[in-house]
Amino acid sequence: MTKAITRRSFLGTTAVASIAALAPLRASAASGELSVWKFGGTPTEVEQWAARNEAFAAANPDIELNYSYFNGQIRRQKILAGFQTNRLADVIVAFGQDIPEFVGFGMVQPLDDIAGDRIDGWKERVVPEVLESGMHEGKLYGLPTYVDMASFLAVNLDALEEAGFDRPPATWEELREYARAMTKPDRPGIAFPATTAPVDINIFEGIAYANGGRIYDEETNKVTLNDPGVVDALQLYVDLIADGSTPQATSLTETFFRDTAQLFGQGRSAMWIGLSWLNTPWGVNDDVRWTGVPFPRPETPTGSFDPVAAIMDPTAILMVSSRAENPEAAVEYLDFWSQDAQLEIWGGQPEVARIPAGKAAWDNAELAETWPKWVEAYEAGTLFEGAAPMPRFIGVSAIEAALGTAIQEAVLGQKTPQQALDDATSAAQTQIDLIRG
């Protein structure tokens, strides 16, 4: 028995077959598996990120999201191992300081090449100075969700008033005077973290850059750790210790930023030096009244470079791996995180620890309530005025490690700041020459 093929049945069958064949192609624009690795973040942020991922999954049922969270300290090891073994995630949420090295090693790809039509929307929704922090050599490599800035000072208001002051210190000289006056036998006037943790080093860099120092000059390929701007900033640390205003020097070198924040939160130090988030991720005891202000400025900057108002880095910036098997889905994910609904997480709903990237986030009352001065400055267009990126270049970790050692040597009194930074410059230059060839 044969069955005749009619024109109608032929056309109908062909149409169904064509739809079936083309359907996967059309859906492949945003479908399939998508792996995401996120590194670091405050407890609230980590919780929120996972919750919003569920919203992404619901809105993109064809994308199978495979999300993993890791401690920020292991990000370089994890990413490097993933790259070497061809198991790197499609999307990496890491630090802006990593971009030059990741680009240099071919680990991430420019978003201009894969997200061209989405970037206009990002520009509309993201603060330009913050979006700029995702750029490297004229190309956009990452979508920032917020930035952290350095350096800031947390001040215990009761201790301030007790010592007879009506405003926080504004200059380095005032800082030493305030710290001495606020010191009690059981409570140092000021504490600063001096371990080799990258954040502790970033905190110091904020002070040195504001004094016209730099750690590396890309134009000459020279390490500049012994620039007067850096040396004098380290001298300030040493002076604060010599004044008797800090905990024991040996204790500073074992207490990193989070522990220092907690000691301040418990009323065990009158001031502490940190990044822009200060105590907001961890809070303070109910009986501790406090405020956060930009770190005091030197009376006359002594560095060889232009003093900056602050240094900043996006510490949750979304990058797309160069080996992403599904770049369409990766771009969809980045676009999702560029939406106001997601960026508002850092506008005080519920996270107040960061400087938000989303323009809309700045309208939130919660942010204005916690950081009125920031919002004022943002609205006046001066918040990012004079700010520079945190150090970022190939070999940055080697120089920062040498700087960390120099800070500890000076703090412990093993060497003068000048000697410690001269030695660090020499050691870091050798490392840089090896790494950069």
Binding site: R76, Q77, L80, E101, G104, F105, T195, T196, A197, P247, Q248, A249, T250, S251, L252, T253, E254, T255, D259, L263, R268, I394, G395, S397, A398, A401, G404, T405, Q408, E409, L412, Q414, D423, A427, T430, Q431, L434, I435, R436, G437
Partner: protein, 293 residues
């Protein structure tokens, strides 16, 4: 006969393959990488000693060598000595030692990260219970920063290491001591040997094989230990606790300086092989006699 030989080869084949894949292969890779110039993560030419030259010119490397000697030799000697003392005590028959033999394994079963974090906080200069207790009891004027003081940090790490590694050494030696023949000890006693003499001239020769084995194993464990020093100090302060394991990690994963890291791994391997070979050579008699029993 020929069939048996083939069967024997077939049965050891998986082990040989595993050793080749997981030991010989990576060792070969590291050795070749140590002789390769690596620039910006890319291999740029094999057959250079640049990485070794860079290491010898690095002042931190010599500090690392000194710290590593304290870590490995100090750690091993103290771990085995304390383990022998504790093992000797545990070998005594009593209800207390019966309980202690089980309890002593607790430090061994706690994960490295938990151990490191707990000790880090107990030893902290501002909030640590140990420094606070020393101050409260009048033994010190002010709390001591065990991990922040460059003079103390390395030996403090060794103490924590011993706390962590010693229990298993003690148990192995305890088992060896308990297997010493009673008739030999009794004969020595009848000949007028006191307790120390019985221990020195009867017990020690009998446990020499176990003692050698745990010494070599401890040395390897301690050389490979990374989490404890890295989490507790990160190599600080001012590199005062930087050892081979942590410096190799820093060069590899923080600086992406894989050539230098590989050169250091090769030196580390040669050092360990030399120490173990020397130790085995010195103890060759006890090793050979016990092994043949």
């Amino acid at each position: 006969m020929r069939h048996d030989r083939l069967l024997a080869y077939a049965m050891i084949l998986p082990v040989v393959a595993a050793v080749l894949a997981f030991v010989v292969g990576p060792t070969y890779n590291v050795a070749t990488l140590s002789l390769t110039k690596v620039v910006m993560g890319m291999e740029r030419g094999f057959g250079t000693f640049d990485n070794f030259r860079a290491l010898t010119a690095d002042p931190v490397f010599w500090l690392v060598m000194k710290n590593t000697a304290i870590w490995i030799l100090g750690g091993t000697v103290l771990c085995v000595t304390v383990g022998l003392a504790v093992g000797t005590f545990l070998a005594l028959d009593s209800r207390l030692t019966g309980w202690l033999r089980a309890l002593i394994l607790l430090p061994w079963v706690i994960p490295d990260v938990v151990t490191a974090m707990a000790w880090k906080w107990m030893l902290h200069g501002q909030v640590g219970i140990i420094g606070q207790t020393l101050q409260d009891t009048g033994l010190t004027d002010r709390p001591i920063s065990f991990l922040g003081d460059p003079q103390l940090v390395m030996w403090t790490l060794v103490v924590v290491l011993i706390w962590r590694k010693m229990p298993l050494v003690a148990l192995i030696l305890c088992a060896a001591i308990r297997s010493v023949p009673d008739d030999q000890l009794e004969a020595a006693r009848m000949d007028g040997a006191n307790a120390w003499e019985r221990f020195r001239f009867v017990t020690i020769p009998n446990i020499a094989f176990s003692l050698t084995a745990v010494t070599v194993i401890s040395m390897i464990w301690i050389t490979a230990e990374f989490a404890l020093p890295w989490i507790m100090t990160g190599g600080g302060p001012a590199n005062a606790s930087q050892i081979m394991a942590t410096y190799i990690y820093q060069q590899s994963f923080e600086f992406f300086n894989w050539g230098v890291a590989s050169a250091m791994s090769v030196i580390n391997l040669l050092m360990l092989v030399s120490i173990v070979a020397l130790y085995l050579y010195i103890n060759r008699r006890s090793w050979a006699s016990e092994g043949s029993q």
